[in-house]
Symmetry: D2
Subunit: 424 residues, 4 copies
Amino acid sequence: MISFEEKALSIELDKFKDIRKQTEKICAPLQIEDYVLQPNADASPPKWHLAHTAWFFETFILNRFLSGYKPFHSMYNFIFNSYYESIGERVMRVDRGNLSRPTVSDVMNYREYVDEHITNLIEKIKEKDVAEFEKLFVIGLNHEQQHQELLVTDIKFILGNNPLMPPYLDNHNVENIGNNIELEYIRVKGGEHLIGYKGDAFAWDNEKPVHTVYVDNFEIANRLITNKEYLEFINNGGYQKFNFWLGEGWDLARSQKWEAPMYWHKMDGQWMNYTLTGLKPLSPDEPVTHISFYEADAYASWADKRLLTEAEWEIAAKHFNPTSDNANFIEKENYHPIPIQNKNEICHQLFGDTWEWTYSGYFPYPGYTREKGALGEYNGKFMLNQMVLRGGSCATPANHIRNTYRNFFHADKRWQFSGIRLAK
Amino acid sequence: MISFEEKALSIELDKFKDIRKQTEKICAPLQIEDYVLQPNADASPPKWHLAHTAWFFETFILNRFLSGYKPFHSMYNFIFNSYYESIGERVMRVDRGNLSRPTVSDVMNYREYVDEHITNLIEKIKEKDVAEFEKLFVIGLNHEQQHQELLVTDIKFILGNNPLMPPYLDNHNVENIGNNIELEYIRVKGGEHLIGYKGDAFAWDNEKPVHTVYVDNFEIANRLITNKEYLEFINNGGYQKFNFWLGEGWDLARSQKWEAPMYWHKMDGQWMNYTLTGLKPLSPDEPVTHISFYEADAYASWADKRLLTEAEWEIAAKHFNPTSDNANFIEKENYHPIPIQNKNEICHQLFGDTWEWTYSGYFPYPGYTREKGALGEYNGKFMLNQMVLRGGSCATPANHIRNTYRNFFHADKRWQFSGIRLAK
Amino acid sequence: MISFEEKALSIELDKFKDIRKQTEKICAPLQIEDYVLQPNADASPPKWHLAHTAWFFETFILNRFLSGYKPFHSMYNFIFNSYYESIGERVMRVDRGNLSRPTVSDVMNYREYVDEHITNLIEKIKEKDVAEFEKLFVIGLNHEQQHQELLVTDIKFILGNNPLMPPYLDNHNVENIGNNIELEYIRVKGGEHLIGYKGDAFAWDNEKPVHTVYVDNFEIANRLITNKEYLEFINNGGYQKFNFWLGEGWDLARSQKWEAPMYWHKMDGQWMNYTLTGLKPLSPDEPVTHISFYEADAYASWADKRLLTEAEWEIAAKHFNPTSDNANFIEKENYHPIPIQNKNEICHQLFGDTWEWTYSGYFPYPGYTREKGALGEYNGKFMLNQMVLRGGSCATPANHIRNTYRNFFHADKRWQFSGIRLAK
Amino acid sequence: MISFEEKALSIELDKFKDIRKQTEKICAPLQIEDYVLQPNADASPPKWHLAHTAWFFETFILNRFLSGYKPFHSMYNFIFNSYYESIGERVMRVDRGNLSRPTVSDVMNYREYVDEHITNLIEKIKEKDVAEFEKLFVIGLNHEQQHQELLVTDIKFILGNNPLMPPYLDNHNVENIGNNIELEYIRVKGGEHLIGYKGDAFAWDNEKPVHTVYVDNFEIANRLITNKEYLEFINNGGYQKFNFWLGEGWDLARSQKWEAPMYWHKMDGQWMNYTLTGLKPLSPDEPVTHISFYEADAYASWADKRLLTEAEWEIAAKHFNPTSDNANFIEKENYHPIPIQNKNEICHQLFGDTWEWTYSGYFPYPGYTREKGALGEYNGKFMLNQMVLRGGSCATPANHIRNTYRNFFHADKRWQFSGIRLAK
């Protein structure tokens, strides 16, 4: 007879195995050469993601709870530490793509080694360690899921910026047909609302504590902005008229010669879009994606609307279930935002498809305190000069997202599946 | 008998003359050579400030309301436009210090020419233009006051970074003795509060519209952090311990080798501080100043406190009068924050002395809309990646500040008179 | 009966096959991941070298002489053109390492495809084309040999800058024991000398035309400077005393924190040297290598000697046979400079081991003219701000080098096998 | 009765006074604001030149020979040391334009102070010091003359890059009319020639020792290339055809968008040229100037000619007297190259008008050795990656130049009066 705790742990071990497998599944279509590159400083090589997520379990769990554990390789802590000052020196972020070794095969062995030891550890963990172990273990799982999304977007960057524009996968599973729903605005009642995570399940520290905010009444768009709508902005000179833009967005767009979202190419007068199934004619009813905050905000100005704040978004999203069957998360294997599938919902695409830029800075909630120790570096030290995005994307695992989930990127980033929802 | 409107205009003309004179008074102690330099990209040469503030009246008022007005020089629009895309091409910001001409004397003639035409205009303005004129005129006056503060801080940068460290003025008027008040926290009741400017007088568009926010109960420090307290942070290794810092602040502090506030110099084991009266031994009871947001936040973390949000600051400040006789504004001619002069107040230094960094991003208030036309570029296009500061400083004109006033700078900026007030 | 020309062509075909095979042999010890990286802007990924040398034959020979030739892939001209403006647009040099595709396997197929078509072409080339074909074909072979040397040094850079410092090959074949010969100077008579290539065999255009130079009597060192001698320079503060250095070399050495040749590591007080057989204790009698011109010149100043000019070097070298059995070229498979093997020579190591920095700029010889067409870009357009190196290295094919051969690199480059020979 | 030596010294004192006065005369037309700027990293502020030339006499002469000499200001060594590592720390070169103090008036006092002490020193110098003093004194004078030329070109840069394009002086003295002489080539016999300075008068160490070079017969153009000829190159697409250019010159010209020499402006379809007398229509018969080596070399390639080597130039120039009355040196006060004045010479403009780029690197002559001590840094440490220019310009003092004089600049520099003479 196994105890409740043992059962819980064995369930978690299954989840661990599923998540670890999913990470490797994402990489399965790659050539070995694809694993090595870091073509921009924000992205990381796929093999780095594979190893870093193993390193996370090794560093924060095996080194601590598994007595006698011998790290797989003495140099891997130096190579695969991402940014933890408390864990010591590390390879410069920009040099991650300068490492041909360890090889993909070495990294796969590393993962296997860590997996085996995690399995061993779960079998024989001491009771007194269970609580702390579980806390870190769940963080490790969520951390790996975050890297799954980054893997998809980094792979897209690697392949999509190659002059050969190779597809990542063929078309099977991909739903690129759907409905064209009129853009409408739904009234949401303002007042005092509780924001942030309150329950007992896992949530990141940046979603806490729950706290009251006051918002005025507002109206939220019933769906994301589509390629077709964004194209109107382009054709209307949106990239040439400074008055729609934030100052630094305007300067950046000029210096980078932005004229359209990332991955859009005008070829012989026709707009093409690089997707993970290859270069395709631009699909008008898909949500626009791979745009910076600056572009999202400029679009909203042009449309005489605005973006939501994160509080407004969360208040509106309380009425929706993130894991609804319709949401286009990674499990759907579209790897791309898709047109609306089910005409009968009230508010579409709040979850999945694209992350939605909000006009809210990524700051601590009132009462937020950083964790002690290395994991205190996980979220808190980034709380400046980044903008909050909400709702997950087509590269997010369905069981990873929440109403209260706060993603964050610098306003200039375009390689994530980021999109636009308007408000007024 | 003069009409009410005529009287109002003549009062404004007096105010105009006072403010224009004050700008020139700030420059009076300079050598001609001091007017030319732009030693960092954020600062501007004093003669540029002098001319740009004249350009503002010429461009937005004389060109529009004074029929037959001939601009002083055809090239000055190119040279002295700061950042108005709608007004046309302009000298690159970083090149402002590469211009020896127009000379200081040319610039003074320019100012005089504009002053005379403004006087003429006020005498003969058409009734139908009065309302619009007044609106722009008041903006011009407030704009010039903002440049007065920048003049002081840019002059300090020019002189304080010169190896000779020349003083700007001698010691007369400067009050550097005061009381040492215990650091205490004052409870402020939370709940729904109205934030933003509501009255009929002038306020910037970024202070509007008035709107409701909800804050929890909080406690605000009764005074600014002093040099002595900040020195403890330094001596305690504050600049060497990453866990107090935001990630990008830590990286910046390392790369810039920050070990103390700007203008602090350790000489023969003693801390010296360059002030506008020259290099002085560090005065322990003065408020610490010339620190970045990163340092303010790291100090707060080290002290196990936090910075205020701008809403909290404004709620607390409602109880105080910004133009109290005690406030150390520019009229006091200290040009430096000073120790507390009047022990009997409850909350000290909320206004004057140093701007107070808040942990609030400079974003639009709910319902904010940019003005149409060039002045829409004044505030709105900067609403990203900057932090709000509140309360004015020793370089702020007393009649320029308000409870609701929002100043904003990037988190790394140190050349303004910026300081720390804690909360919990 | 085959004609003389047919025979000549079939000999060249054999040479072609040998050289092509040798290129691939150099890459044989690599992991697939090693082929992809470009860890500095001077180096290129191994797979780029493999493909670019095929592209050279395709572009300059197959496209021109083989009627109906269909290029292997329409995009490869864009991807594998190095710097030929006349051949059209190309991938930016710094982006060569951002391409995971074509894969190594694709590149090998490309090479095979080109090889087959070259074989076909040689069988059926038209008589009228033979002369021009041969000229270009020999250039193609020499071009490929140049890339063989770059392959070795780029591979060393990729592996040697990896924190794991993996060896390229194990120790077999490597001769790291030899004689320690006293450093002596050999008198060479000056006067008028003919310099440059005069014969009928292949030589680069930059070696021509032969011309007279006048040099004074000089003395040339009988061997290269060793690690042991260079270590004295280091231990004597050579990297800390500016007076030995050229101004820009001094500034560079300070900013790059150079304290020793590239690949030297001081570990626990002992100097280690990364070689292609892995990290080894510094071998005292080996020639020092991986130094910049600045370091070579600073060493010479410290030793109160000087470097040779290229004319002096060539005059001295006329007495020696570059393909002597003793010379340490790539065929010896040492992949590293080695101590002197044969004590009985007069002047050691003039050929092989390390390229020797001369104090001569890479400029056109009197009467030099660039070729017309794309191959005019091969050498002429680089004739500025680079220094001439002479004599080949342990990574040079023996049949590629000549007395008159002029190699050239910028003075700061260290990743080639470059060394020091003194003169006075 | 005064001794020979006393007389010699008093003659030198007169020369000192003349040269010092000339430096100040060059600055006389400036506004105080003009003295402060450093608008590019190669140039220096005029007041820096004025002070640095005084510092040179103070540091190398007064500090050494005048017992009890008290430097004018303890910080000036830090501020006005240009690049002498042996003299200690100094203001970064790029920061010279960030110093408003010392003021122009302070600097003039500094000069006066140094002048007085030099006068005193000459009166009472000890006999044993005379020889060494004289050597350094003559260097100081020549050093100041070099800065006179830099003053002219830096002033031109400051004024000519100002949007107002103010003239430095009005037209008096300027000869911009002259003869249009056919471009012809003069045969010069080659063979062995002595190159370098041999006499007893002053010459820089880089002109020594005299040594033999061998050159082939060559032909030298009888005059400089004119604006009209250079315009043909432009109109013929010279800036758009890569095959005329060195690789790095091509890349630079593209990135800098060079389409014409510095200071040329196409306005309403007409080419204008900023000169020190203001903006003027391009004068066709003037020598072209303000071009980089890259442009000179590209022009020569386009014309199917070449540039001279410095040896060829010196051999040809031996037949001419640099101080001929016709030469357009600074004393003519044209401050600009002018058309040929005297039709009857054989070879025109070898001296004065513009420096002539040669295709010779600035390297040590055979047998060159650096001086010991700080003055060893004067020339030797720059002997890399710069090209030699010969013959002086319209900004060179007539008594400063020699047949053997070697000027040197990086190939990309355009702000000097540099021009083109062809050879074949």
